[in-house]
């Protein structure tokens, strides 16, 4: 089990990171298949429970991708997300979840190669950290 492929959940904003992923796709940029993407209308609507759920269901890492500050389609949802997520990082660390497993990045709609690079880097980080928790032993 220790060598299993890392599972990564990416929660991404419809207006930027998701579009960047689309661009990466149409540009034939390859990124690791470990990443499972979930599209949100804004990172500001990502409640902490979605991130907690991802970890409890066996994700080894969670990536949140939003618009650059100032570019939010809904004015400031991304900044709110950053604030909320920073607190969650502090919280999860106390439960033995390495803050490195959990990252927030700004990737604009035109940044296809940036998206690819981020996915590769994050997947490498998570692979180095190894599996997070054996969700089989969880009561949940």
């Amino acid at each position: 089990m220790a060598t299993r492929e890392p599972k990564i959940i990416a929660l991404v904003c419809n207006w930027c990171t998701y579009t960047a992923a689309d661009l990466a796709g149409t540009s034939r940029l390859i990124y690791p298949a470990n990443v499972r993407m979930v599209r949100f209308m804004c990172t500001g609507m990502i409640d902490v429970k979605y991130i907690i759920k991802a970890f409890l269901e066996g994700a080894d890492g969670v990536f949140v991708g939003g618009c650059h500050p100032g570019d939010c389609h809904y004015i400031n949802g991304n900044v709110k997300a950053e604030r909320r997520i920073s607190g969650l990082q502090v919280l999860l660390e106390q439960f033995g979840i390495d803050p490195k497993r959990f990252t927030l990045k700004w990737i604009g709609a035109s940044e296809g190669p940036e998206f690819q690079r981020n996915m590769q880097e994050f997947t490498r980080t998570i692979a180095e950290l190894g599996p997070q928790i054996e969700s089989d032993m969880m009561i949940l």
Partner: protein, 364 residues
């Protein structure tokens, strides 16, 4: 303004006399305080209009079957033109201030009264005390041993001196004195004390020494508690053991004064899983525990409100499985509150950290 009040009566009687004066002199239209009904010695928050009935009030009783801030918020959910004096513990005052920020109540019509808090006992412990003592209230303040029998969150509470109140009842340093010293903390409070017309005085001499003594003891307890709790959630496997007996009754959520959502996601259809979902989950792992999502519940509740936890400990008190929910919460919230630089109940003008948008980032 500092006033010495009724220095011939013993302290709990002097406090009762003070509350009666509020009604008799029309300084308040009603008083919300702890009241032991004829049916049980356990005091319940009671809204009182008739000053005669205040004889049975026990504002200083070391018991709090629920966080009275929630009850106060009901009375104060809108301004109906009546001035309501509410007697709350410091943690309850903090909760009420947080609730006002969340538009759950208005504090304009309220006269906030609080006391140096020696803690509350669990209900069964208080009932035991009340069964053997005619006057459990006075017995508690006269007996240091009893003051050690308060619930764990109170033993570890460092914020037992009221903040942001109109009137403080000084109890620290009061043990061998009669009467009660009242301190105003606002213009509203000062007006009340002026109309009351007691003798102007200084803070009780031994007060600071008494506060320091209690603080030192509590700091020790707090360190013990947070170290213990941190070990109980050091990783997910240990945390599973800690909450293994959780029944998903959500009592902790109901009792929590700052977990205020009327429609909590955990009691909606989102978590009322359909049979195909349950079968799917069982298929994934070979079995699924029902009720589901126990870990999810505790982690999510912490993530939602750890920054606002006032440390009242009601979540532990109501747990049917004796899970030390409050120990965990207090430990986690210490870190989260430090991260946000947010101290619940400290500054009524300061919004919840989630609601603050750093504007410089927006236009970067």
């Amino acid at each position: 303004m500092i006033v010495e009040f009724e220095n011939t009566l013993n302290t709990p009687d002097a406090v009762r006399a003070f509350l009666k004066r509020l009604l008799d002199d029309a300084l308040a239209d009603a008083v919300l305080t702890a009241f032991a009904s004829p049916h049980s010695p356990l005091p319940m928050p009671t809204l009182m209009i008739d000053s005669q009935l205040l004889d049975r009030a026990v504002p200083l009783a070391p018991a709090a079957p629920l966080n009275t801030a929630r009850m106060a918020a009901r009375v104060l959910s809108k301004d109906i033109g009546k001035r309501i004096a509410v007697v709350l513990r410091p943690c309850e005052i903090r909760a009420l201030i947080e609730m006002e920020k969340l538009s759950q109540c208005t504090l304009d019509p309220a006269i906030l009264i609080s006391m140096d808090c020696f803690g509350r006992m669990e209900n069964d412990r208080y009932l035991e005390l009340a069964a053997t003592q005619d006057d459990p209230e006075s017995a508690f303040y006269a007996t240091p041993d009893l003051q050690e029998a308060v619930c764990p969150s109170c033993r570890a509470c460092l914020r037992f001196i009221p903040e942001n109140v109109d009137v403080t009842l000084c109890l620290a340093g009061q043990s061998d004195k009669k009467g009660v010293t009242l301190v105003s903390g606002s213009l509203k409070g000062e007006k009340v004390l002026k109309k009351l017309g007691g003798t102007s005085t200084d803070l009780p001499l031994g007060r600071q020494a008494d506060i320091d003594r209690i603080m030192a003891r509590r700091q020790t307890h707090r360190e013990e508690m947070t170290t213990g709790a941190a070990a109980r959630m050091a990783d997910m496997a240990v945390f599973q053991q800690t909450i293994a007996n959780c029944l998903n009754c959500y009592n902790c959520r109901v009792a929590c004064p700052v977990c205020y959502c009327k429609e909590c996601v955990f009691v909606t259809d989102v978590f009322a899983h359909r049979p195909e979902i349950l079968m799917g989950r069982a298929m994934k792992k070979g079995a699924v525990k029902i009720p589901t999502d126990t870990t999810m519940f505790h982690l999510t509740r912490m993530a939602h409100i750890a920054h606002a936890c006032v440390g009242c400990g009601q979540c532990s008190s109501v747990c049917p499985s004796s899970i030390p929910v409050a120990d965990l919460f207090i430990t986690v919230s210490e870190k989260v509150q430090e991260h946000y630089g947010y101290i619940p109940g400290q500054d009524p003008q300061r919004p919840w950290p989630f609601l603050v948008v750093e504007t410089d980032k927006q236009v970067e």
